[in-house]
Subunit: 354 residues, 2 copies
Amino acid sequence: MSSIINRQWRIAKSPNPEDVISADHFSWTEEAIPEPADGEFLVRTICLGTSPAQRGYMQPVDNKFLHGLAIGEVMRGRGIGQIIASRHADYKQGEIFVGSLGWQDYSIQHPRGAQFMFSTKKLEHPIRPLSAELGVLGQAGVTAYFGLLEVGAMQAGDNVLISAAAGGVGCCVGQIARIRGAGKVIGIAGSDAKCRWLCDELGFDAAINYKAEDLQARISKLFPDGIDVFFDNVGGDILNTALGNLAMRARVIICGFISTNYTPGPHHGPINYTQVLRMRARIEGFVIFDYWERFAEAEQALMAWFKQGQLKSCEDIDAGLEKMPDTLSSLFTGGNMGVKLCRVAPDPDDLPEA
Amino acid sequence: MSSIINRQWRIAKSPNPEDVISADHFSWTEEAIPEPADGEFLVRTICLGTSPAQRGYMQPVDNKFLHGLAIGEVMRGRGIGQIIASRHADYKQGEIFVGSLGWQDYSIQHPRGAQFMFSTKKLEHPIRPLSAELGVLGQAGVTAYFGLLEVGAMQAGDNVLISAAAGGVGCCVGQIARIRGAGKVIGIAGSDAKCRWLCDELGFDAAINYKAEDLQARISKLFPDGIDVFFDNVGGDILNTALGNLAMRARVIICGFISTNYTPGPHHGPINYTQVLRMRARIEGFVIFDYWERFAEAEQALMAWFKQGQLKSCEDIDAGLEKMPDTLSSLFTGGNMGVKLCRVAPDPDDLPEA
């Protein structure tokens, strides 16, 4: 072990709606590395992922799947790590493990309960670098896969619009749409650099900088026949504008509301919802955990596309556990380009065969 | 013939959004009864139906299916009548015909064009009184059937909420939901009399007078496990309140927006649309004309339920062609209880066998 202490970020205070997430919301603690009891194993964190949902975890409010974190608890977060000690026969030292590791160097894991089940897996043949397993091959890719193909029922030839297209899920959606034969694939993002990246690196046909351009004018020009599939991560004004530009029998996939969920109101509903009648369209929300029994199906497809070079890695990686508050904060300030991760430790030398 | 002139209501002016529809928007004309040319036939109007869509026809704006009516044109309207003269081999004198007869005593019909196809039929064995054919057995029933069962995919046990439940479509939706084994069937209407009628006559489990009661409080009490299917005819605040009370995987069927479509704005979108994500719900619009190739399927089911006494006739019938402006207006002022019709002439004595 390269470190003999376990560094941790714990909840110090719940964010208010107007807060920008920062280190002030957390406390940094250092303690002894825990020892696994019978049936447990110890994982060393290598990389941590991020999700807008983590802001919700910082409130002491339970949801269907998870309890809200109280002051003093280690911040919840999904990550990839290596098993460095085990007292469980199915989890062996040296194996690579993806699960809810928390914002810390070391965590005790034990295969009990729903949270363990749908968020964990052992990787027999991990991809190098391991960070890719948390990116396009991880929950961002799986969310994009089921959202676009199941909820949105995207067909070859469909013209697809994606909001927060340079975000973790969005950049996977665009690539999968391209792979599955979409007509046009257009992204909405918040900077010219992001727009260039979407077009130059990820194969989007065009991208709209909503902060600098007239969104309505650009969408109506880029979609003269309307939007067949809109994959929405943001809600609010962008959703409303997209609803005003739907094609017949359009599908609107509601993946998140990052524009309104974490900012003070009042927020307005999308007045253009009335277009669902004229266009016989559908607005449908989904939560990726509902699909956990089918994750393997998506992971296999993503891995195959990745190995064939069709699906590009698009991780945006900070360095150092101490960065985690800023890493998470960037999701809400638009600072990320791709799947936002933080590397906590280098990939180990003793990785299993890829 | 009991009349030797053809009385007609023609468009005099297009209604503005704030207008209450009245005789001022129409001009009354009387002219000679037209004679059918080769391939045409003459129909005498017996009963005329109503639809909120008719208000849209009064604007000189075309839609996908129909042209907007110009000043001086006879008002468009669906009705039932008897063929009293024919120069078309397939349409014989004495037969009963449902189609776009217009607001007039007599109309020339000819089987050409899409409008004729999806809005017309000959009735070999018409139900008595003929008005029933324009009510629960007509487009109101067909709209309810496909909206509830196809778009809403209502399953036995689903708890169903219906807005404008005492309206033409709404009172059919509630009855079909009951027939198909819904859990609770709850209606929203605008008077205590309507609410009593829904419960006492049509088998609704409860009804909410949205003008007198606290809609949110009543819905949350009546649906402790949430709404599985919401059939919405009104949009606006009622839709928003329903969205705040959805069950998991709820389906919201958007059939119309009578609360906002014909009233001056500004209107707000339903801020509770964000519930589609938390509840993995779906909001879907539909237009009944899209189903016209399957109308026979619905009509057969409706007729079978009607003959078995499961589906009750619920027509609200005015008397006299001169009443038509008020008859239509009542849809927008909440004056109707059931499928609003106007009887223009008595049922003929020489009806075919039922």
